[in-house]
């Protein structure tokens, strides 16, 4: 708004010239307010700095004890065993993180996008008015509820009867499917928003050329809304990637992966976030190697998440369609 005032001042001639402000007590007060507000805004930068600082400090100390090549290229993940058997290769843990995210996306991606197309292109106004708020409420259900559901219902009542005795009480499949269910409302809702934002003229044009509704949805609306749909999918994937408590309850804490990556979805494993939360809850002394491991894994999770986020922003910008 400052621009408006300054722009108006030179034009104010004659009696209006008194509008030009001098440095009064009032303007000092204004400066103070501005400084306070700036300080509040700067706190968010401080938060990031502190996150990075806290992670880096212990990570550097960790790599004083463990070689980087062992961390990246070993084969076993057994950080909590006695020192003779300790091994700190992150790959099995990283693998489980991606693996559970993959299972989640196999569930959430097709279901979420089909729901979004239905809501944006097929559903009547009344149906949409009911389902859309329901989706938004479901997106706000705490993750602990999904964790409980996976452990107390999905694994024993659905997976075990269906797949037999090979299913562990903790298993990656249950965790992945339930995390998929958890991110489904988010994906459907965000993708639907971007499809609904495609201008009506595109639909009318396509119908005018003789396309049927399915062709319009899949060949016009979906490509036109691609940047938003990609953003929805990446948002869902990054939530699945950092999800903690569902994995901790349904798949395990990832403290012991001595055989390398667990490729059998019916066996337990844990992702990075579950390892952090599951390990920090115990009695681990500050400064011990186990304590530093938590921070090193936290740093790895933080860096991978930031990379995913940056890729998403690039993708969105690349495919962005601008309509007037």
């Amino acid at each position: 708004m400052a621009a408006t005032v300054t722009a108006a001042s030179p034009g104010a001639s004659g009696p209006g010239s008194s509008l030009i402000r001098t440095r009064s007590r009032r303007s000092v007060g204004e400066g103070v307010v501005r400084t306070i507000l700036l300080a509040a805004a700067a706190l968010s930068v401080l938060t990031t700095t502190l996150i990075v600082l806290s992670l880096v400090r212990e990570t550097v100390s960790f790599f004083g004890d463990v070689s980087i090549s062992d961390y990246l290229f070993g084969t076993k993940w057994t950080p909590l065993l006695s020192s003779a058997q300790q091994s700190f290769n992150v790959w099995p843990l990283l693998f489980a993180t991606f693996y559970i995210t993959l299972i989640a996306m196999v569930v959430a991606l097709p279901l979420g996008i089909l729901c979004a197309i239905y809501l944006a292109e097929y559903a009547g106004r009344r149906t949409r008015k009911i389902i859309k708020p329901v989706l938004e409420v479901l997106a706000g259900v705490p993750t602990i509820v999904f964790g409980y559901f996976a452990l107390a219902f999905f694994t024993p009542e659905i997976l075990k009867p269906l797949l037999g005795s090979g299913v562990g009480t903790n298993n990656q499949l249950a965790a992945g499917i339930i995390v998929g269910l958890l991110v489904l409302p988010t994906i459907a809702s965000v993708a639907e928003d971007s499809m609904s934002a495609v201008p009506q003229s595109l639909r009318e044009g396509a119908f005018g050329l003789g396309a049927n509704r399915m062709q319009v949805s899949l060949r016009v609306i979906l490509p036109a809304a691609l940047s938003g749909v990609v953003a929805a999918v990446v948002l869902g994937a990054s939530r699945a990637f950092g999800e903690t408590v569902v994995i901790l309850l349904a798949a395990g804490n990832g403290q012991l992966l001595p055989q390398g990556p667990v490729t059998n979805p019916l066996e337990p494993a844990g992702n990075m976030a579950a390892f952090i939360a599951g390990t920090a809850g115990g009695d681990i002394g500050q400064g011990s190697i186990e304590y530093k491991t938590i921070f090193t894994i936290g740093f790895t999770l933080f860096v991978v998440t930031l990379i995913l986020n940056a890729v998403a922003i690039r993708l969105v910008n690349k495919y962005r369609q601008v309509y007037e």
Partner: protein, 304 residues
């Protein structure tokens, strides 16, 4: 259009939308069915979740549940008093911390910040990225600088509230900015033309005009905060949950933590109904907060 352009356009049309064929109707019907199935699958799964939780936990809902302290031995008369008190504390601390900071940041970014300056762009980029950081990482931050070094608050409920506050701060900022942006420029211009200073304009015109949107956003952020489990798991050592948290004792408990403990420890499955009952209490609280948010939005929202 030249003849060539018309021919080209026609070719494109045939490629994208081939002449209707006999199979088209079947394909369309199949696609429609697929979408309905997807929607039904999602709705049925989520409905099953709610029904299962209600079925498991509703028998435990009684005054005992609210009044008694949690027990690890006797599920019959175990309650969740300390967890409920903890959640209410967390909500209050989080609100006191996050409302002034979030709104001040939003006002700065919308009303003062010059977007050509590098530090203003840094702040904006930073807030976007903070919103994407996994919640467990905020727990690490809280452990390192709020519980131990830095603020050294210990494993107290205040440390928990501040950590959750940092977690939801980006949400409050983003929603408040939208609400402030929705106040039309003419309102500000009018106030400035009448001789109000910039801050008077913001305090007397812009903030009252955007209060409904800000309040809605704050409530939604707080409801996200009290549903979080992961950051709290990092802050507290395994302390007794039979004591209510206060502002200065080293006790952290909250409904999600209690649900987690009951689910995790339930080798005998005796405690699962308690976990489900605690979920019902938590969801009732969230439903109440959401209803207040919807009411505020409908009642006080300004139409310009």
């Amino acid at each position: 259009m030249t003849g060539q352009q018309i021919a080209h356009a026609a070719a494109t049309q045939r490629r994208v939308f081939p002449r209707p064929r006999r199979g088209d109707k079947v394909k369309s019907a199949g696609f429609y069915l697929l979408m309905l199935l997807a929607l039904a699958a999602a709705m049925v799964a989520l409905a099953t979740l709610l029904i299962d939780v209600w079925g498991d936990g509703s028998s435990k809902l009684s005054s005992t549940l609210i009044e008694n302290q949690p027990s690890k031995i006797n599920p019959a008369n175990s309650g969740l008093h300390s967890a409920l008190i903890g959640t209410l504390y967390l909500m209050a601390i989080c609100a006191v911390f996050v409302i002034p900071l979030g709104v001040a940041t939003a006002v700065y970014l919308e009303e003062y910040a010059d977007r050509t300056k590098w530090f203003n762009r840094l702040i904006e980029l930073n807030i976007q990225n903070l919103a994407a950081v996994p919640s467990v990482v905020y727990g690490i931050l809280g452990l390192a600088y709020i519980v131990r070094d830095g603020l050294s608050l210990g494993s107290t409920i205040v440390a928990g509230g501040l950590t959750l506050g940092l977690l939801v701060l980006p949400v409050v900022i983003i929603v408040s900015r939208e609400a402030i942006r929705a106040v039309p420029p003419s309102i500000r211009e009018g106030a400035l033309a009448l001789g109000a200073t910039k801050w008077q304009t913001i305090w007397k015109q812009v903030l009252p005009g955007s209060i409904a949107g800000i309040a809605t956003g704050v409530i939604l952020a707080l409801s996200r905060a009290i549903g979080e489990t992961a950051p709290l798991l990092l802050l507290g050592a395994a302390v007794s949950s039979r004591i209510d948290p206060t502002l200065d004792n080293a006790v952290i408990n909250a409904l999600p933590l209690q649900i987690f403990n009951w689910s995790k420890d339930s080798d005998t499955a005796n405690f699962l109904p308690l976990a489900a009952a605690a979920i019902i209490v938590l969801m009732a609280l969230l439903l109440l907060m959401n209803s207040i948010a919807i009411y505020l939005r409908n009642r006080y929202e300004q139409k310009w």
